[in-house]
């Protein structure tokens, strides 16, 4: 069951790679949150009620509801155009995503380690690289934030891969990670929308050495 969920998670990445509209990105992020919740639910076997509530808050409430609603609000408020405007065509995106996944699978096969769940490792690593790829190839600042959120999801999966033996540390880390980063990014995006009319990375090149 966990494997099915994780593979679905991987498929959402492919979907994200060819998505055209900003709203699709937001929906995929919300879906990833839900998937992550079920993965956690099945993965962490000896889970206390408090821990469960924490994870529920983090995945469902935070990742699937609060962040997507907020992103949609930002989109609307700043009148951001609906297209994602990638630098590369979708076809190339798809190929690159495939390459990322294949390379991580090959990489995971080299590693021989009993402490590591291989499929978790593959999903985590490809999500991570995919997030970096999104950041590098999309034009809008808000897509950078989304790429960062994808990376966060990848880190979350990675922490599950190792977290069976140290759940508390991982919980703490993830909560703080999401808390600080999205809080900062979120508040910031609002301001950025006010100052830079059309949110585009090309406008962020005024800081120079001379």
């Amino acid at each position: 069951m966990i494997n099915v969920l994780l593979i679905t998670f991987l498929i959402t990445l492919f979907y994200m790679a060819i998505a055209n509209r900003m709203l699709t990105y937001i929906n995929v992020l919300a879906l990833q949150g839900v998937l992550l919740f079920f993965v956690v639910f099945l993965q962490l076997n000896e889970i206390s009620t408090l821990n469960l509530v924490l994870i529920l808050l983090e995945t469902i409430v935070f990742k699937s509801i609060a962040v997507p609603v907020f992103l949609a609000y930002v989109l609307k408020r700043n009148k951001i155009t609906r297209e994602a405007e990638p630098f590369l065509p979708n076809f190339v995106s798809l190929i690159i995503t495939t390459v990322i996944v294949v390379v991580t699978i090959l990489l995971a096969n080299i590693i021989k380690d009993t402490h590591l769940d291989k499929i978790f490792f593959v999903v985590a690593l490809s999500t991570l690289f995919f997030g970096l790829y999104i950041i590098a190839t999309r034009r809008k600042i808000i897509t950078h934030v989304m790429g960062y959120l994808v990376i966060e999801n990848g880190v979350f999966v990675l922490s599950l891969a190792v977290g069976n033996e140290m759940p508390m540390l991982v919980n703490l880390g993830i909560m703080l990670d999401i808390f600080a980063s999205v809080l900062i990014l979120g508040i910031f995006l609002n301001k950025i929308g006010d100052v830079f009319k059309n949110i585009d990375v090309n406008q962020l090149s005024n800081l120079k050495d001379y």
Partner: protein
């Protein structure tokens, strides 16, 4: 005491944030400086003890905590001067500014002392939050751009550190332990799985370079120091950099005690040489005085890391260098505010003949230049000399020659800009409206620079002992 310190500091941050009264504001700041110093003195008297499970007053932590407390006093004084001179200040912006500074200093101090890799990570994250409030102080478009870049790169670097910690925990599971404190890691160093440790080192090192100002994540820090007000930039370029150093250094001690020592040295060495190279390239081109100081910081951090990579006497020199650099670089940034007041620009093209307008300030700037480029009698000369010596001892003569060449170019570029600002008159300067600046405003910088010379040339016994003790755990 640590808990009391953190709680009281948090209370001060909150009350600074909500307070609108100027008098209460100043008294709260004085209260914080008092708190900071009493905590430092307490730390000195409880040397080597552990408090609240996660904080140990060890030699490196106490040494850098003292440096932090020393720099925090001029930082507060110059912040008050800076805000008084700035006409656009409102009670609200003043409150946010000081709340952020107090939060930053507290987070840095607690980060120095933490003995657990996750705790140091949390405090590093907090510094990002406080630093971004300082960078955005001017509320204009450039500040926004700088803040955005800083936050984004720091967020990614913090994620990297977290990934590194996850890999480290995987590595530690092979040793049959799950306690990520540095002490336990060191005790289990020989049993750590080398493959995961390698990955962990790469990620944690890359993550902390955003704070340390080293290749590959150095860019964020440059924009941050450019946009933050002078006194805040002084903190960012000195004590915050030290926090990045502490993060890398504490983890390096563990890696150095495993079979990966040579490999880690190679990684650090490559990053260090690249940093010095990048700093040289930018220093030749740069025309923004604040960015010039920031690039000079990258060069120094490259040298520090080179000392670490070379080993031997290099360890001692690296810790000495980081202390002296903090004193020197912070005073240069403090001095910048006066320069800005006279010329109203950061651009070197429009700054000149500074000796005519503010002789004391120009003297400090010249003295700071001599210190920062490590010319005798600068204390940094001693530490750089020791770093070169350690490179010799490690048979890295080619690296040494390359670094010396690059340093020569840096000194030339730095000197060219500096002497232009100090002596060559600038065209179209309106001499009627030059404000007179009290020489007393330069006093703290002179004290800091003199301290850096003194500590370099004639280090007190206790100071040497602290450095020696902090590098004690490293293999020779």
């Amino acid at each position: 005491m640590t808990l009391i310190y953190l709680i009281v500091a948090l209370l001060i941050v909150v009350s600074l944030f909500v307070n609108k009264n100027k008098l209460i504001n100043i008294s709260l700041i004085s209260l914080f400086v008092f708190l900071q110093w009493s905590y430092t003195i307490y730390a000195c008297f409880h040397f080597r003890s552990t408090e609240f499970e996660f904080f140990t007053f060890d030699s490196l932590g106490v040494l850098l905590l003292i440096v932090l407390s020393v720099i925090s006093i001029p930082a507060m004084i110059h912040s008050l001067i800076y805000l008084k001179n700035n006409n656009e200040e409102t009670p609200q912006s003043r409150g946010i500014y000081f709340a952020a500074i107090v939060g930053l200093i507290t987070a840095i101090g607690a980060g120095y002392l933490s003995n657990h890799i996750a705790v140091i990570w949390i405090f590093t994250e907090l510094t990002t939050l406080c630093a971004s409030a300082l960078i955005y102080h001017h509320r204009n478009k450039l500040a926004l751009e700088g803040t955005w870049k800083y936050i984004f790169i720091c967020a990614i670097s913090i994620t990297f550190i977290f990934i590194g910690i996850l890999f480290l925990s995987l590595s530690l599971q092979h040793a049959g332990s799950d306690d990520l404190s540095f002490k336990n890691l060191l005790a289990n160093a020989s049993k750590l799985n080398p493959f995961w440790l390698q990955l962990a080192f790469l990620f944690i090192f890359t993550g902390f370079t955003a704070k340390l100002g080293l290749v590959p994540m150095f860019t964020a820090g440059i924009d941050a120091k450019d946009n933050a007000p002078g006194p805040a930039a002084a903190l960012l370029s000195s004590v915050l950099v030290n926090l990045g150093f502490v993060g890398i250094f504490r983890f390096y001690i563990i890696v150095a005690n495993t079979s990966l020592h040579q490999w880690a040295n190679m990684i650090i060495g490559i990053a260090a040489v690249l940093s010095i190279f990048v700093a040289t390239v930018y220093m030749i081109k740069v025309k923004n005085i604040k960015r010039m100081f920031a690039y000079s910081g990258i060069e120094h951090m490259g040298l520090v890391m080179l000392g670490i990579a070379a080993g031997g006497i290099g360890y001692y020199a690296a810790v000495l260098h980081i202390v002296l650099h903090a004193l020197t670089k912070s005073s240069l940034f403090f001095q910048y505010s006066q320069l800005k007041k006279v010329f109203h620009t950061k651009n070197i093209y429009h700054i000149g003949n500074y000796f005519k307008y503010n002789a004391t300030g120009a003297m400090v700037l010249l003295f700071g230049f001599i210190c920062a480029t490590a010319m005798p009698p600068s204390g940094l000369f001693v530490s750089e000399f020791l770093i070169f010596k350690s490179l010799f001892a490690a048979n890295q003569v080619i690296v040494l020659i390359l670094v010396l060449l690059l340093l020569t170019m840096i000194i030339w570029a730095f000197g060219k800009n500096m002497f232009k600002m100090l002596f060559i008159p600038v065209i179209g300067m309106d001499e009627q409206n030059v404000p007179s600046i009290s020489p007393w405003e330069s006093a703290t910088q002179l004290i800091l620079l003199t301290a850096s010379v003194y500590l370099g040339l004639n280090p007190p016994q206790e100071f040497v002992q602290l450095i020696n003790e902090s590098i004690m755990l490293l293999p020779i």
